[in-house]
């Protein structure tokens, strides 16, 4: 590969120079040799002693001088570097781009620059900025090219560190799952080191064990044996870094005692050093550890340390953020649960009525069944039919209980594919008794072709029940017109499902339109003012929106909400 690239680089350059020389001869310019003599004024010793890399080429790009600093950096001899030999020190990945730029400079005769990696004598590559400037004769023709290579590796390193940091911070801000962020971090770290497989382990405070969280390149066969690592000063670098709260490095894993859980497995995979740095947050102390397993023995370089410092810092931000969000989600779920139970309390009379109906029916059927059998010639068929009716009624009573149990269950939100129309019908069933008691009529206008949504069935049912109950309450004082609730589902825009609950009540006061979805806002004599605020937070968590309008074509108001259509599953 390098050979071919060098050949092509040389080929391009020679062709360009040939045409340039032809042009200068045609214009009758002075001979290149004369100008060359003028240019060779700098004492070679000075140039050799400069701390930067310098070179000079003939007009055709063939290197005829290269300074000592260059030779010392690459470890090349002068013979190896002159001509086109120097190109062997250019990183294979950069040869083509560097060749293209150099060729165009030679052809144009303009100064220019390029970035490429040069191999140091120890085999390490560093980024350099190549600056080239043509030396021109009196008549303006190029007599030589002078060049300098400036080491920009530290700047490049900082740049890529920064861009990696930005990428990860973005992912964190967008709420990407913690595992995927930590995996990106490991991938980022592995990229820099080139000879290590990094991993993140989170501290489980309940049992003081480190649990595997993420890695990009750790062999899965190794991870299978390492689900958790104990914490303690004698537990190897990983466990010790957490217990000591500082970086612990084992430059040679074979020196670790055999009890260290990952020692043998790592050695078997050719990983022979282990560096571990605790991930610490200001607020919560040690969260876990960032551990690199390296395939060469030794301690981290200064640059490795910088990478590790950055990664552990980013990891702590991501972990803290994710934990805060989890806590927030839990709080929201709990609040939703509490308000759900409150709503059930409001519905208690209605629910009791419904259950009583079913239980009375079962009792009455039982009485009837006994009477059928007590006849002079027992009516067995009718008794059998009675049993069936009892079973049927008991099943319906069970369904009522199931609906209530679903609403009162205390679990976190669960996203599943859901049929909004089914949620509407279920919710209406739950408030049916209340509707009857308050002499409200209800009309459902449901879009038959409604696409599925994605979300938590119970929470969305809670939203609907809340809106229905609000509607019933809004019509409580209405005496001069029918009290009717209309629930409608429809497709709004292309990828939104819209649900409206319309009442014929008093209508909302325009000044409250925006305030009503805030917590503790209420116009009711009783109530905490949490209902609509919970509805809003539930919908926002579902990527939806809720709003209310005063009806323009009649009395009352309409509460609308939209939810995104379930697309391809996001996660």
């Amino acid at each position: 590969m390098p050979e071919r690239a060098r050949d092509s680089l040389q080929g391009h350059a020679s062709a360009a120079i040939a045409s340039a020389n032809l042009a200068s001869e045609m214009h009758g310019d002075a001979t290149p040799a004369a100008a060359l003599q003028q240019a060779q004024i700098d004492p070679r010793a000075t140039i050799d002693a400069l701390p930067t890399l310098h070179w000079r080429t003939k007009p055709d790009g063939v290197v005829e001088f290269i300074n000592k600093t260059w030779l010392e950096y690459t470890g090349f001899s002068e013979e190896q570097a002159l001509g086109w030999g120097w190109t062997r020190a250019v990183h294979p990945d950069d040869q083509q781009s560097l060749g293209r730029i150099w060729t165009s400079l030679l052809a144009s005769g303009h100064p220019g620059e390029a970035e490429a990696r040069l191999r140091q004598h120890d085999g390490q590559y560093r980024w350099f900025l190549f600056l080239a400037r043509p030396l021109k004769g009196q008549s303006g023709q190029v007599v030589a090219w002078l060049g300098t290579c400036i080491d920009i590796d530290d700047r490049k390193f900082a740049e890529s560190l920064l861009s990696g940091e930005n990428r990860i911070l973005e992912a964190t801000a967008e709420g990407a799952p913690l595992n995927s962020i930590l995996e990106q971090l490991c991938w980022h770290a592995d990229e820099f080191s080139g000879n290590s497989a990094t991993s993140v382990w989170l501290l489980d405070r309940s049992d003081n064990l480190l649990r595997y969280a993420a890695s990009a390149n750790l062999p899965s066969s190794l991870l299978e044996k390492l689900s958790s690592i104990a914490v303690g000063p004698e537990e190897g670098a990983c466990g010790a870094s957490v217990s000591r709260g500082e970086t612990v490095c084992t430059p040679d894993l074979s020196s670790d005692p055999p009890e260290v859980p990952y020692r043998d497995a790592c050695l078997a995979h050719g990983l022979c050093a282990c560096w571990s740095t605790p991930i610490v947050s200001m607020a919560s102390g040690v969260l876990g550890t960032f551990t690199a397993f390296c395939n060469t023995k030794g301690n981290p370089s200064a640059r490795d340390q910088r990478v590790i410092q950055q990664i552990t810092h980013l990891a702590s931000i991501a972990i803290e953020r994710s934990r805060t969000e989890d806590a927030l989600r839990r709080t929201r779920d709990e609040l939703a649960h509490v308000t759900r139970v409150t709503t059930l309390g409001e519905l208690a009379a209605s629910i009791a009525h419904e259950m009583n109906q079913h239980l009375s029916a079962i009792g009455t059927h039982g009485d009837a069944g006994l009477r059928w059998l007590a006849r002079e010639s027992p009516a067995v068929e009718r008794a059998r039919d009675t049993f069936k009716r009892i079973i049927d009624t008991a099943r319906r009573a069970g369904e009522v209980l199931q609906r209530i149990r679903d609403l009162s269950r205390k679990t976190g939100a669960e996203a599943t594919v859901i049929d909004i129309n089914a949620i509407i019908t279920d919710s209406v069933l739950l408030v049916q008794s209340e509707l009857t008691r308050q002499k409200n009529a209800i009309r459902l206008d449901l879009e038959a072709e409604l696409p599925s949504a994605r979300g938590d069935r119970v929470q969305l049912q809670q939203v609907l029940i809340n809106l229905l109950m609000n509607g019933i309450e809004a019509m409580g004082d209405v005496a001069d017109r029918p009290r009717e609730l209309v629930v409608r589902s429809q497709i709004s825009d292309v990828d939104l499902i819209m649900v409206s609950v319309r009442d014929s009540g008093l209508g909302i006061d325009p000044v409250n339109v925006d305030r009503m979805f805030k917590a503790f806002f209420t116009t009711k004599r009783t109530g905490m003012g949490m209902g609509l605020s919970i509805c809003r937070s539930i919908l926002e968590a579902h990527g939806g929106r809720i709003w209310a309008v005063r009806n323009v074509d009649g009395p009352g108001s309409t509460f609308n909400f939209v939810l995104p259509v379930a697309g391809e599953a996001k996660q």
Binding site: A349, Q357, S360, A361, I362, T364, R371
Partner: protein
């Protein structure tokens, strides 16, 4: 709404009695239907008050078993009031889930025969229905008897009616003759016709008939 006060049409009273059940809950309708059928009663069920009023009441001995809490515009109590307003005198047994006291007071004042809280004992319900049907039967019988008396009364001449009214009010023939400007003997003759035409065996009998017809008076 069918007017149950219309002429009985001969043998209506001989038809089996019917229990009319109005409850919005399907379980309850089914259960009550089953219970009444198990004791050999005819049953018709309705899911709302408006369904009952639109299908009409049968012209046989019947009673209404009604849930106070019905959906739609007419609750059980409303239906009771509505029936009373249109002069329908069907006995009503109201059911409630809560044993709601103000509601039961209202219902009883408005003439409900009975008031049962769900869940009820089957025997209580059957007793309530039996006595309601009995009451309806008696009412219908007395209605029919009154109707027959009225026909008889209408067969009397104007003069005979005037005399019957005065006789049953306890007036002497002499006074009646004076009032009407007749001879006493004429009054006596009319009075004999009245007794015969009204199938009255005695003066006391005639007074009872007059009372049933709501005539006479003090």
């Amino acid at each position: 709404m069918t007017n149950r006060s219309e002429p009985a049409g001969g043998n209506a009273s001989d038809l089996p009695p019917v229990v009319l059940v109005v409850d919005d809950d399907q379980s309850m309708r089914s259960a009550l239907e089953n219970l009444f059928q198990s004791v050999g009663l005819d049953v018709r069920t309705f899911s709302s008050a408006s369904e009952l009023t639109s299908r009409g009441l049968p012209n046989v001995v019947s009673c209404l078993v009604l849930d106070v809490r019905l959906p739609g515009l007419l609750s059980g109590l409303d239906l009771q009031a509505e029936l009373a307003k249109t002069g329908v005198q069907i006995p009503i047994i109201l059911m409630t889930s809560h044993g709601d006291i103000p509601m039961s007071v209202t219902a009883m004042k408005a003439g409900a025969v009975d008031f049962l809280a769900k869940p009820f004992r089957d025997q209580d319900m059957l007793n309530a229905v039996a006595s309601a049907l009995d009451r309806d039967r008696k009412r219908r019988e007395s209605e029919i008897a009154t109707k027959q008396l009225r026909t008889l009364f209408e067969s009397l001449s104007q003069r005979q009616r005037e005399i019957m009214t005065r006789v049953t009010a306890g007036k002497m023939n002499k006074h009646i003759a004076e009032e009407l400007g007749l001879k006493e003997i004429t009054v006596k003759i009319h009075r004999g016709h009245v007794m015969r035409k009204m199938h009255a065996k005695s003066l006391a009998d005639l007074v009872r008939i007059a009372e049933a017809l709501g005539i006479g008076g003090k």
